[in-house]
Every structure is written in structure tokens, then in C-alpha cells.
């Protein structure tokens, strides 16, 4: 009895202390005072965020966290990774438990407007796809009339699937499943002909099969799932920092700045945009309230966007995702960073 009263007291004391510290300055000031960035990630999604055998977080979303930490604090390892689930992610951000959520979250109207968050950009353009066993001989999703489909319940994929089939005048039989792990088992056991989820998830799942070549991911993508990092409404300075860190990674790829050459290219190049980006010219860093070399630090942390992509989910990794929509606009993709000037 006494002990739980004590814990309750601790709780109140902690709340009061937390309230006091929350009053001074915005998120940037808090992060700088704390010395670490609290970054919300998934509890584990192949290629995007997962702890490795040494307990170090690795992945594409993790790369965004590290880049922001490097930009703000100059140290890519000054990140406290907070694992969040689908249910807890928005509360964690709204309550201030995390400063930034980089957790393959789809940018939708209601999340942006109604939940009062600010998506600072898109770091991965995903979309719902279909995977079928090769022996089925299907080459297009339009041939799936009458198929049994494994689908995760309670997600937007369920609604997208219904839309796709009814708009193409086809029928299907859903096999509801709860998690991706369960889906893999059901699909391999032949409980369903088709497994549908985000294309990146399909690629990651397929990579784990004993014989990945026995399964094909169909070319149709039936939904738009722009995934991006998000912050709270109302702290625009902090939102700007995260947005422009992401843009810096994208611009760096476009301009040919990599983690290998970021150290010297700023002074050796004549390209004014690179010089502005890396802080050897102009005052962009100071406008954000950061050091002049903020972007250089962010790029040095894990490389530019292309390096992050190739290192975590690209074609050289077991997941083997092609750039597709996530190529630079110059290569026919959708990545298009506003200019640094």
C-alpha cells in the first residue's frame, strides 16, 4: 500500500518536474538541453527499423532519426529510439514523449488535419501490391477473380482491396489475419492464393521465403501510401528543421554529395547550391537556429537519401526494392526537394 502510494507520489512529482521543463522553449531547445533526440520508430519492420544483434537500431526510418540528430546535435548516435506500435504512435507524439515520429506512417488528410500533426515530407512512396505463387501462372492482378486473399484486418489495405475488386467487377474471398508473421505462415501453407499488403512489406516478406523465386509480386499497385516523418502541430521551427533535414538528404543525392565526399566537397566545389547546403556559403544553418554544418552532419550520419535507400532496402539488400517512384525527379521518380537558397 505505502509503496504504491510512493510510486503515485513519484508520478506526480515527475509530472510537475516535466511540466516545468516543458515550459521553456520549443522542441529544439528541449532537444538541445536534453542532449538526445527522442525518435519514435516501429517495434520492428524489416528494412525500416529493427535492433541488430548488438542492440543498435538499423533501418531506413532509423536513418532519418540519425540524420536529424546529427543536424541538431552534431552526433548521429544521440538518439533515444522509442519503439511505438500502431496504436501508441500518435499518442506518443502528441504527448511529447517523442520529438519526431519516423515510423512508416502514411500521410493522410485526417492524420495531418484532424490529429493535428505535421507531415514534413515523404521519405518513401509505398503502395499496396499483391504477391502470388509463381505456379499459379498469374501475371496481373486483373486475373485474380475469385481468389482467396490473405489480408490484415483493420488496416487501410482492407478497404483498398475491396475498392479494387469491386471497381474491376471481380470477386474475392478474404482470409482475415492479424499480423504479418501470421500472414507469411498462412500464405506459405496455402490458406490463400494471394497475399496483399504494402509493396515494401511484400518484398521483405518474399525475401525471407526459402525459395523467393517461387513467388511473384504483381505489377499493379492499387493505393497511394506516402510514408513520411511527422512532428506535432504548432512548433513550426522544429517542423522546419526536420523537413529541411529530409530535403537536405534528397538534395544531396541530386547534387552528388555523399557521405564519402561530404567532408571536402563543400570547399572544393564551385557549385553554389552545394556550398549553401553544406554551409560553406550563406547562412542557412543560422536561419534554422543550427550550426552552419548542420546538413553536412546529417549527410555524414548515414549518407544521402540514395545511400540510405541502397544500404537498407535497396537492390543490394535481401529486401531488394527497386527505386521506382522513390527515384529522383531527374530519373523519373517523385523525389523533388525544393532548392536550398
Amino acid at each position: 500500500m505505502k509503496k504504491s502510494v510512493f510510486l503515485g507520489t513519484l508520478a506526480i512529482a515527475g509530472a510537475v518536474a516535466g511540466y516545468a521543463s516543458a515550459q521553456d522553449g520549443g522542441t529544439l531547445a528541449q532537444v538541445q538541453e536534453r542532449g538526445t533526440l527522442n525518435c519514435g520508430v516501429t517495434t520492428g519492420l524489416t528494412g525500416f527499423a529493427a535492433p541488430d544483434a548488438n542492440g543498435e537500431w538499423q533501418g531506413f526510418d532509423v536513418g532519418v532519426c540519425r540524420a536529424v540528430a546529427a543536424a541538431v546535435l552534431g552526433d548521429p548516435s544521440a538518439v533515444e529510439f522509442v519503439p511505438t506500435t500502431g496504436q501508441t504512435r500518435f499518442t506518443a507524439l502528441a504527448s511529447g514523449e517523442i520529438d519526431l515520429l519516423a515510423r512508416n506512417t502514411t500521410w493522410t488528410f485526417s492524420r495531418d488535419v484532424d490529429l493535428a500533426f505535421e507531415f514534413v515530407g515523404v521519405n518513401y512512396y509505398d503502395g499496396q501490391g499483391f504477391m502470388v505463387p509463381r505456379e499459379l501462372g498469374v501475371s496481373s492482378a486483373l486475373e485474380l477473380d475469385g481468389a482467396t486473399v490473405c489480408i490484415q484486418t483493420g488496416t487501410t489495405t482492407e478497404l483498398n482491396l475491396a475498392d479494387f475488386f469491386s471497381s474491376n467487377n471481380m470477386s474475392y474471398e478474404p482470409v482475415p489475419i492479424e499480423t504479418n508473421a501470421e500472414a507469411q505462415q498462412q500464405y506459405l501453407a496455402g490458406a490463400c492464393d494471394v497475399y496483399t499488403t504494402d509493396a515494401s512489406g511484400l518484398a521483405a516478406t518474399r525475401a525471407t521465403f526459402e525459395d523467393p523465386t517461387a513467388h511473384v509480386v504483381l505489377p499493379e499497385i492499387v493505393s497511394k501510401e506516402p510514408l513520411g516523418p511527422l512532428v506535432r502541430h504548432g512548433d513550426n521551427e522544429w517542423g522546419d528543421i526536420v523537413r529541411w533535414t529530409l530535403n537536405a538528404l534528397i538534395s544531396a543525392e541530386e547534387l552528388g554529395v555523399t557521405s564519402a565526399n561530404v567532408g571536402e566537397i563543400g570547399s572544393s566545389t564551385e557549385n553554389p547550391e552545394i556550398r549553401r547546403l553544406l554551409g560553406t556559403e550563406g547562412e542557412l544553418g543560422a536561419m534554422l537556429g543550427l550550426e552552419a554544418d548542420w546538413a553536412a552532419n546529417a549527410i555524414a550520419a548515414g549518407g544521402n537519401y540514395g545511400e540510405l535507400f541502397e544500404g537498407n532496402i535497396g537492390e543490394a539488400t535481401p529486401i531488394g526494392l527497386a527505386r521506382g517512384l522513390n527515384a529522383q525527379w531527374t530519373d523519373g521518380g517523385l523525389l523533388y526537394s525544393p532548392p536550398f537558397r
Binding site: 500500500m1 505505502k2 509503496k3 504504491s4 502510494v5 510512493f6 510510486l7 503515485g8 507520489t9 513519484l10 508520478a11 506526480i12 512529482a13 515527475g14 509530472a15 518536474a17 516535466g18 511540466y19 521543463s21 516543458a22 528541449q30 516501429t42 517495434t43 520492428g44 519492420l45 524489416t46 528494412g47 527499423a49 529493427a50 535492433p51 541488430d52 544483434a53 542492440g55 538499423q58 533515444e80 522509442v82 519503439p83 511505438t84 506500435t85 496504436q87 501508441t88 499518442t91 506518443a92 502528441a94 504527448s95 511529447g96 514523449e97 508473421a181 507469411q184 505462415q185 521483405a204 516478406t205 525475401a207 525471407t208 521465403f209 526459402e210 539488400t317 535481401p318 529486401i319
Partner: protein
């Protein structure tokens, strides 16, 4: 006819002169065969069922045992496991499928300690040893009573070992309990028992609220003794399950006793408060309380407040479990004959004395099986924290699968986690049976 008979009887003296040696009973009515005949083949139906059961067990074992025993222990990823298996060649029908236990070797530290700093693993291990040593005198009364001193100190020592930081934190917090005890001890004569009880609750709370913080920092600046502090976020795997489970068990027991007594109380407010608390907590699933701890508190508490998620979870688990314990103990209290209460009163004992000396020892004894099964349930329920994003063993099994090295591995992790939980829960269950036998004073 009778003549003939008597004649032969006379001729051949058919009377034994010595005793026959004792013979072993026929094999069919003794030993294993008798047991098998009685238990397995007592009728045609039973014989048939036995044979079918043996066949089913055989089929299951043939499928599972080679898979488990031929498992691969030394590999860096699931694909390496598959390569090793293929290199071995498909030995027989089930040679194709073998367990890949290597994931346990590779991720052992994470499954056990989570993100706890690896050079500090001795601290949780020492805390576990301390915990076991400290509860031993409670569990077995043949051990020296002096060890109970360690039991009292254990929560503070374990807290300090696990979370680290200044040594003054646990000392000053413990001081609050000493204050409460002192108020009861010395205040009872001057203030009366009612005021002393209230004072014993209020004084430590005020002490913790207003004096603890400055006292800790003051003492620490004078005499800085401490060990490296570890954040709650670093806790994971079985360490997390044990910490939540053990704290919940230790804290919910006294709270449960108090709630049970409160529900039996004649004092209107105490009675109704206990009833409402118990019914509300029991009427809502644990997972809802955990979401409350994680989500609603996040909304209610001011932004930026940094109230440890693990402490929130421990509080919720404790409250939840204490409501169940209270009902189990109330069952024990209700089972005592009225005469026990009246006997206590007739001896002139006051309420606390009669509870402490007469009622509770008997009621708790009756309640042991229920209490232990509540504890087992509580310990297993700790895996529910996976839904609020804490990395308990189940949470880690998901995180491990999210690594490209181990994506696609299921059974090995689940079997291991299940086995660990089984060992703990089976141990608790056996202990409760031992205790019941030892305390059995009923009329047989």
C-alpha cells in the same frame, strides 16, 4: 467307493511335512504388468484407446523430436541455417526440416536483458540472486530468521542495482518507511491509535513529496557514491518480464490484503471504496488498463512530462493484480468459521491484533492456491506489454524477426519463450503444493 478312497489315502501319505517356500505372485497380478492391465488395458475399449493414444504420441514425437534434436546451433542467419541443413543433405523424411536454434545463441543477450548495457549484466544477475536469497526465508521457515533483514532491504537494493544512480535515492526513500514506522511506534501512546495510523500514512508521503528530492541531491553533493544509472528504456526481454512480474507480485500482496480487509470492514466509506476499487479494476481487461497507462496518461499529463512508462505499467499491473488477490483472500476470510472471530474478540485482542494473530494466518493458508494462481496469471500477463511497445520477450521475438538475418523464424523463438515461462510458472505451482502439504492441519 469310500473304501477305495481311504485305502489310497493310507498308502500314499499325502501330507506335507515342510512348508512350501513363498512364491512370487504371477507376473500378471503384480508389478508393471498388473499396473498396465489395470490402468491401460482394463477393457476392450480402454485397450483400444490406449493403443490409439500411444500411436498419436508416437506420431507427434516422430515429427517433433528430430526437428528439435537435430537443430542447428551455430549459424549467423536463417539463410546460413538453411545452407547448413542442405549441406547435411535431406536425411530421411524429416531431414528437410530442422530447428534453427542459432537465433537463440545470436540474440541470447537481447532475449534476456534487452538493451541493458552489456558490461553491466552482472547487476541484473546479482539482483536476481539477491531476490532469490531474500525471498527464501519467506518461502521456507526452516531458514534462519535473521535473513528477513535482507528481505526488508532487498527491494531497495534491487532497485539500486537495476537502475543504478546515486546510492542516496534508495536510502532516503527507505527513510520514509522508517519515519512511518516511527510514528506508529512512538505516536501510539501519545496520539492514540487512530491518529497514529493516519500519521503513519501522511508523514512518509509528505516526506517523499517535499524532502526526498533536496535531501538526495544534498547528500549526493556531500558524499557522491553511485553507480552508472540505466534508463528504464534499456530494460527488455526476460529482465523486463521479471521486473514487472516480481514488482507486481511483491506490491500487490499487501495491497490485496488491505483491500480484502477493507471490503469486510464495517466502516462505510472504507468498505465502499474497497468495493468500488475492486469491482472497477476487475471489471476492465488488463490490456485496457495498460493502454490507459500508455495512452490516456500521455494525454492527461502535460506535454513534455517524462513519467517513466515502466513505472506506469508496474502501477497498473499491481493495481490489477491486487484486486484479484483481494477477492481470493476475501474468500479465505469468508471460509473461516464465525467462532474464530469471536474467539479473537473474547481474548480481548483489538482489530489489528486479531487479524494479525488469528484471522489472517488461517485465511491466507486457505487462499494459497488462489493467490499462487493469481501470481502465475500476473507473471504471464506481463507479455501484454508488447501491445504498448515495450520489448518483453514476445516483443523481442517480433523485433528479431524484423532483422533481415532472422526474418521468417517463428517456432524456435516461441518454444524458447514458452519454455522459460513454463519453468517459472511450474516452479511457483509446485511451491504452492509444497506449502499446502506443509500447512495442512485440517482433520483427516
Amino acid at each position: 467307493m469310500s473304501e477305495l478312497h481311504s485305502e489310497t489315502a493310507l498308502d500314499t501319505a499325502y501330507v506335507r511335512t515342510e512348508m512350501l517356500p513363498e512364491q512370487t505372485p504371477p507376473v500378471t497380478v503384480s508389478g508393471p504388468i498388473k499396473w498396465a492391465r489395470e490402468n491401460l488395458f482394463s477393457s476392450v475399449w480402454n485397450a483400444l484407446m490406449t493403443i490409439i493414444s500411444i500411436y498419436v504420441i508416437y506420431v507427434v514425437l516422430v515429427a517433433i523430436l528430430p526437428w528439435m534434436l537435430n537443430g542447428i546451433w551455430d549459424a549467423g542467419s536463417l539463410n546460413e541455417c538453411r545452407e547448413i541443413r542442405d549441406a547435411r543433405g535431406g536425411s530421411g523424411e524429416h531431414g528437410h526440416d530442422v530447428a534453427c536454434w542459432a537465433v537463440l545463441v545470436d540474440r541470447w543477450d537481447q532475449l534476456m536483458f534487452g538493451f541493458y548495457p552489456s558490461d553491466l549484466y552482472w547487476r541484473p544477475i546479482l539482483a536476481l540472486v539477491l531476490f532469490l536469497t531474500a525471498i527464501a526465508p519467506v518461502l521456507y521457515d526452516s531458514l534462519p530468521r535473521k535473513m528477513l533483514i535482507l528481505t526488508v532491504l532487498m527491494p531497495f537494493l534491487c532497485f539500486w542495482l537495476l537502475w543504478g544512480g546515486s546510492i542516496w535515492t534508495p536510502i532516503v526513500v527507505a527513510l520514509g518507511f522508517v519515519l512511518g514506522w516511527a510514528v506508529v511506534k512512538f505516536g501510539e501512546g501519545t496520539l492514540g491509535s487512530m491518529l497514529a495510523t493516519i500519521g503513519a500514512i501522511l508523514v512518509p508521503i509528505l516526506f517523499w513529496m517535499y524532502l526526498t528530492g533536496p535531501l538526495i541531491s544534498g547528500l549526493h553533493s556531500i558524499l557522491p557514491i553511485g553507480i552508472q544509472s540505466v534508463e528504464s528504456r534499456a530494460f527488455g526481454g526476460f529482465l523486463l518480464a521479471f521486473v514487472i512480474g516480481a514488482s507486481g507480485i511483491i506490491l500487490s500482496m499487501p495491497l490485496g490484503v488491505i483491500l480484502a480487509l477493507g471490503r469486510q470492514s464495517d466502516l462505510f466509506i472504507i468498505n465502499k471504496c474497497s468495493v468500488i476499487f475492486i469491482e472497477v479494476i476487475r471489471g476492465v481487461p488488463l490490456i485496457v488498463w495498460l493502454f490507459t497507462a500508455q495512452l490516456l496518461l500521455g494525454y492527461f499529463l502535460p506535454p513534455g512530462s517524462n513519467f517513466d512508462l515502466m513505472v506506469r505499467v508496474i502501477i497498473m499491473v499491481t493495481l490489477f493484480s491486487s484486486a484479484y488477490i483481494a477477492e481470493v483472500i476475501r474468500g479465505g476470510l469468508a471460509a473461516l468459521p464465525r467462532g474464530q472471530y469471536e474467539g479473537a474478540d473474547s481474548l480481548g485482542l483489538n482489530y489489528w491484533q486479531s487479524m494479525q494473530l488469528i484471522i489472517l494466518p488461517q485465511a491466507l493458508k486457505i487462499s494459497i492456491p488462489g493467490i499462487v494462481s493469481s501470481f502465475i496469471g500476473l507473471f504471464k500477463d506481463t507479455v501484454l506489454v508488447v501491445f504498448i511497445g515495450l520489448f518483453d520477450p514476445i516483443g523481442f521475438s517480433n523485433a528479431i524477426r524484423a532483422d533481415t538475418d532472422w526474418n521468417g523464424i517463428y517456432w524456435e523463438l516461441f518454444i524458447f519463450i514458452g519454455l522459460c515461462f513454463f519453468i517459472c510458472c511450474f516452479g511457483m505451482s509446485r511451491y504452492s503444493q509444497y506449502l499446502e502439504r506443509k500447512l495442512a492441519t485440517d482433520h483427516r
